[in-house]
């Protein structure tokens, strides 16, 4: 199929969950997908607004891409759950990108709001397809294929992050290797996907964790029911889907069979700041936990050395408590 043009996807925010879906969809419609490079060691962050690091990275990546592509894909993610919403910053993200790129590139910013029928994932992608000149039939076919691929991809997710070098986790062509040796520690890593898997945010801490003999478990594998069981008795419902997932999975893992739990948060993340306080107090009121918990707060100034020292110490604590 001939190439219709290029679509740029910034390597930021929900890229770290939905990239396979997005990529397959656009490729099915005959567009070439270009992803921004990582920041690398000397990468410069562009400070357009005074937000959390993942949001700053969205702007940085978008500006890096804008001259190389015909369209920039920055969907307006209002809600990715039937009942719960995303952080309010996501609602303004395409507008921030539009101002930062000064209108030099067309931005595909269809709204995704799974609480309504009108903005369901399929509808939103059909609208995006329409803007790219695809009719409804083509769009539907591409979306179904993308969705199928995405579901398969997610099944192999845990193997991917434990076997592949983290830079290659989103190389969709590379298959995950079958499970290899047993690791001595099962550690749950909790946080927003862009904190967990963006190596520019977390300084590639997952690779280091792996080299310390930890098998990484993520909340992605948990079912809605398992998360709900931990948060259903709260005096008020947590209305952010990510916050709900964080609190639910954290309490799930702390009562379960893992050796340790690591919570990665971004500095200035409003949701994490509030829930962190809640988690700490609630744990204390419940009489503590026998499973070690480490909270790491990340921003552009956090150095790899500081993080690795704390992770090493954390491993020692886990060793102590298992013996």
């Amino acid at each position: 199929m001939e190439e219709k043009g290029r679509i740029g996807i910034p390597r930021a925010l929900m890229f770290y969950r939905y990239f396979p879906l997005w990529k397959v969809f656009f490729e099915e419609l005959g567009w070439r997908v270009i992803v921004s490079d990582g920041l690398g060691k000397r990468g410069k962050i562009i400070y357009f607004e005074d937000s959390c690091l993942p949001m700053k990275l969205l702007v940085t990546h978008s500006i890096g891409l804008k001259d190389k592509v015909d369209h920039l894909f920055v969907p307006r993610l209002v809600s990715l759950h039937r009942d719960y919403i995303m952080c309010p910053k996501f609602r303004g993200a395409p507008d921030i990108v539009r101002l930062a790129t000064e209108g030099t590139v067309s931005i595909l910013d269809e709204t995704v709001d799974l609480r309504t029928r009108e903005h369901s994932m399929l509808r939103s992608f059909l609208k995006t397809g329409k803007r790219l000149g695809a009719d409804e039939k083509e769009g539907k076919r591409a979306f179904q294929k993308a969705e199928q691929f995405f579901l398969n991809f997610q099944k192999g997710w845990e193997d991917r992050i434990n076997q592949l070098p983290l830079k290659q986790v989103f190389h969709l062509e590379t298959p995950a290797l079958p499970k290899s040796e047993e690791k001595p520690f099962q550690v749950a890593f909790i946080g927003h996907p862009y904190n967990l898997f963006d190596t520019d945010v977390n300084k590639d801490i997952l690779s280091f964790a792996r080299s310390l003999g930890m098998r990484i478990i993520t909340p992605d594998g948990l079912s809605e029911k398992e998360i709900g069981a931990q948060v259903s008795d709260l005096s008020k419902e947590i209305y952010w889907s990510s916050g709900r997932e964080i609190v639910g999975s954290l309490f799930h893992f702390l009562s379960g069979r893992v050796d340790g739990v690591v919570f990665l948060t971004s500095f200035k993340c409003g949701i994490d700041a509030l829930l962190q306080e809640f988690i700490r107090r609630r744990l204390k009121l419940k009489g503590g936990t026998s499973i070690p918990l480490l909270v790491l707060s990340l921003d552009e100034h956090s150095g790899r050395e500081g993080l690795t020292t704390r992770l090493e110490a954390f491993r020692d604590v886990m060793e102590e408590s298992t013996h």
Partner: protein, 366 residues
């Protein structure tokens, strides 16, 4: 039972009126002070917004004084305000303080009514028939007092930039407000309001001045509470600027009751429409309105805009990013002040002085 409520601008005056008129025992938390803030900061973390810390501090102080029932206005998504109660309850519990909690739902939904029923089930037993019968009257009294406070504050904003003796308006406003506070019946309240009006109008004023016009926009707690914004409104006024703001209790209450579409709401709708050039979606809280108001005020010929937000506030962070562009596009100076627990009163004063001077130069040049 002893009811308490957080401080927010003049809220204590009319919350007190409701409780007093309906005969419910209450405790007003001590005026927000350095100690309040320190207590709030101690029991939360650095990235939680400033209103959370202030309110928490108020509650801790009130509970220590013997209050046992907290009444708090609820709110909904997407801002953090809607989950304040979830976290504050756990914090108070962890501190070993005993309390009962009553949330006033922001919107009347079935879930809210059910929750309210659950929460009030115990409390109702402690209320007498007299309390319940007098409650509507209390609400009416509270509403009247709220409107009186707002009228006086609005008047003070007009008088302040023209006052001859610096700081006199503030003194008179305080006196007028305490007059309202002390009124027991609707008739005495009316008298107090009239007295307060004349008191303010009698301030020595220099009518030859043409004050600068500045609009304060931003997150509602930081805009409405002088303790949180370190008296930005008063400072601007005393530097010679006539200040306007659209965040008042009445605006927000009427908005959540979805009443009064013609008056206050239409202004908000106008702001919202104006913001659409920059924002394609309702981000939530006051974000869109901050942007829209800045645009509309520039069209109306205002000299400048002061944008207030707590550190790490989620919707306003987006707004502040966009406002830098709005200022350029519409040629209106915008000063964003980010507030947290640091002692920054002196810095704010300097910033405001510089801002005012810049506006005066700009006016002369035009």
């Amino acid at each position: 039972m002893k009811v308490t409520f957080p401080h927010l601008g003049t809220m204590h005056i009319f919350c007190k009126a409701i409780a007093e008129t309906s005969g419910i025992p209450y405790i007003v938390p001590p005026e927000t002070s350095r100690r309040t803030l320190t207590l709030g900061v101690q029991h939360s973390n650095e990235c939680i917004c400033l209103p959370f810390k202030m309110i928490l501090g108020n509650f801790i102080e009130a509970l220590q004084m013997g209050a046992d029932t907290i009444v708090m206005v609820g709110s909904g998504p997407p801002c953090r305000l809607g989950l304040y109660d979830l976290v504050q309850k756990v914090i108070l519990e962890d501190m070993g303080l005993r309390y009962r909690w009553l949330t006033i739902p922001p919107r009347l939904t079935w879930q809210a009514i059910w929750k309210n029923y659950e929460e009030t089930k115990e409390l109702k037993k402690e209320l007498s028939w007299k309390n319940i019968l007098l409650f509507p009257y209390g609400l009416r009294m509270g509403w009247k007092k709220m409107m009186a406070c707002e009228a006086l504050e609005k008047l003070a904003m007009k008088v302040r930039p023209r006052e001859v003796q610096k700081g006199e308006t503030q003194k008179r406003l305080k006196k007028a407000l305490s007059g309202v506070d002390e009124a027991r019946t609707l008739r005495t309240l009316n008298d107090a309001l009239q007295k307060g009006r004349t008191l303010l109008q009698e301030t020595g004023q220099d009518f030859s001045r043409v004050p600068l016009k500045i609009a304060i926009v931003g997150e509602l707690y930081t805009v409405m509470d002088p303790h949180i914004n370190r008296g930005v409104e008063q400072k601007l006024g005393e530097l010679g600027a006539e200040v306007t703001r659209t965040s008042w209790f009445s605006t927000h209450i009427l908005r959540s009751l979805r009443k009064n579409k013609a008056d206050q709401n239409s202004e908000r709708i106008r702001f919202f429409e104006a913001s659409k050039a920059y924002l394609g979606y309702d981000v939530g809280a006051e974000c869109n309105l901050s942007i829209g108001e800045a645009i509309v005020r520039s069209q109306e010929g205002y000299d400048g805009v002061v944008h207030l937000m707590p550190f790490a506030c989620m919707p306003e962070t987006t707004a502040s990013g966009i406002l830098t562009r709005v200022g350029k596009d519409w040629d209106i100076p915008i000063l964003t002040l980010i507030l947290d627990e640091q002692e920054i009163e002196g810095r704010i004063q300097t910033l405001l002085e510089a801002f005012i001077e810049m506006l005066q130069w700009k006016r002369k040049a035009a």
